[in-house]
């Protein structure tokens, strides 16, 4: 509870949380905020911005502004789900490697190092290119598989060091099970790292999804910021003067990333008192 209080007192965390709430409102109330259906194709194609279409229309005659509002749903969902799944995998692998020395640690550590070095986007591209279907869950799967290594690598030494602290030794002497020690003694003490890991992975998820969809490896008919950018580039939005079509989704991606990054920073400062202002 103490940590939560500290978190909300932090200015960076407050700004980050407000930004995230803003995106959540956009996603949840998209049907009420967007003026038109994002898939309706009845407007004049490639129209510049006007009062009827703030950001203009696509080559298929869809309203760009409505598409961007609806796109918040997939982009935010991918970020949060990737953050969650990646963190779970990182925690499992980091904890197993840190807690069980010897063969388990050696194997998992080698695996972590390998996945850390293999460049993420090319691996995602190769995976996605062979995939038979390309929905949101395919993209989430591909990003998660390539993105867990960093967290596991950060958690492992932390678990190793906590395992040798006196309060953990005390639990061992009392005869507590490994399960109890891991979940009740070690896990709470790594909460800050795990939270930071979640925010970091969420940024990674949002940016990777946008990149993959921009290349055309997503489902081009789904509505997300990545696909809006894909169509903007495909239909040469800039050269028709429809700069808002390209500017806004990219800016929103960067702002969503910034909101996760601000919270990440705040968590870092709370768990590492040295980073706080003196």
């Amino acid at each position: 509870m103490n940590y939560l209080k500290l978190f909300f007192k932090d200015k960076k965390a407050a700004v980050g949380t407000i930004m995230l709430l803003f995106f959540a409102v956009l996603a949840i109330f998209a049907p009420y905020i967007a003026p038109y259906s994002p898939t309706y194709m009845g407007f004049t194609p490639m129209e510049g911005s006007s009062w009827r279409h703030i950001l203009g229309t696509t080559a298929n005659g869809q309203d760009v502004f409505s598409q961007i509002i609806w796109g918040t749903r997939i982009s935010l969902a991918v970020g949060l789900i990737v953050g969650l799944l990646t963190t779970v995998i990182s925690v499992v692998i980091g904890f197993l490697a840190g807690y069980f020395p010897g063969a388990i640690d050696e194997t998992l550590n080698l695996l972590t190092n390998v996945f850390l070095i293999i460049p993420g986007l090319p691996l995602m591209i190769v995976l996605a290119a062979y995939m038979p279907s390309r929905g949101m869950w395919t993209i989430i799967f591909v990003i998660t598989v390539t993105g867990w290594a960093w967290g596991a690598r950060v958690l492992r030494p932390q678990v190793m060091s906590l395992k040798n602290r006196e309060f953990v030794n005390a639990s061992v002497v009392v005869g507590e099970s490994s399960f109890h020690i891991i979940f009740y003694d070690i896990l709470p003490n790594t909460a800050g790292l795990i939270a930071a890991n979640f925010f970091g992975s969420a940024i990674y998820g949002v940016l990777s999804e946008a990149g993959l969809e921009f290349i055309g490896l997503g489902n081009a008919n789904a509505i997300s910021w990545g696909t809006v950018l894909y169509w903007a580039q495909n239909d040469q939005a800039l050269f028709f003067g429809l700069w808002g079509w390209l500017l806004v989704p990219g800016l929103l991606i960067a702002l969503l990333g910034t909101s996760f990054a601000l919270m990440n920073f705040a968590v870092d400062e709370i768990t590492n008192p040295r980073l706080r202002k003196r």
């Binding site: 460049p119 993420g120 290119a129 946008a210 921009f214 290349i215 960067a254 601000l262 920073f265």
Partner: protein, 323 residues
Amino acid sequence: MKYILRKILIFIVTLWVAMTINFILPRMMPGNPAEALIARAHGRVSAQALHSLEVAFGVNVHQNIFVQYIEYLERTITGNFGVSITYYPSTVMYEIEIHMPWTLALIGITTVLAFVFGTILGISTAWKRESLASTFSLPVSIFFNSVPYFWLALLFQYLLAFILGWFPISGAFSATGPQGIALIGSILYHAILPASTIFVTALGGWVLTMRNNMISVLSEDFVSFAYAGGLPDNVIEYNYVARNAILPNFTGFAMAIGFVVSGALLVEMVFSYPGIGYLLYQSVVNLDYPLMQALFFFITMTVLIANFIADMTYVFVDPRVRV
């Protein structure tokens, strides 16, 4: 030299994993991507090339999968990746050879520049933490760290090349075929926009990590001791704090270089810069699996080598691993 042996082991295992991913994915993925590839290649390539494709992807080959695997590894190690479907009759190796130098120069130079400038900026923002410049540089770095590379590339392309006409819109050199010095000038001129995009987006990450490392080291006892001993500020800043703070940057290099390479690939696509990223895009659009596989292998290899160099430099910077 346990440290170096360990790094070599990781190098070899990673390369093996990359090769194995290339082997397994087209064979095991649902929807038979390998058969679809052969079907697409029918009529586009010669009978001989088609047969070698079938061998490479295990279609219509009545051979034990382990024998296939061994033969596949042998072909990969000897650099035999077959013909490209997109650029037929060109071989995959030829295409990679002519595109690789562009990417190596572009990413190599920008990575080094971003590392050096980002580290210096990180040192000074942490050192003068209360100054105006440092208060501003923090949120700016955080923002730029979250900007999609390809989006910034598009904005630069629109504003600086299309609207203002200061730089060429795409390509790596002028189509008029300049010679000698003019050609070099044209190449540098075309490289400015893609390079600045990569530089600006990569810079933020180095600033942030270096700043945090610096602040952590600043509260160590030996720093207070140096102050107490009356050492000049700049000696403490660089020889005491920065020297220790830079160490985690070397170990974090693996992930950073992965990010830069990934981002640079997208930047190349935007600027139609004739490097590996552009080639990868072509292979994906055309579902040219032989080319895509080889590119994945070579990109991984490049990242591994860059990382290995960083690891070896680390041996010189941190005496503790030299045991």
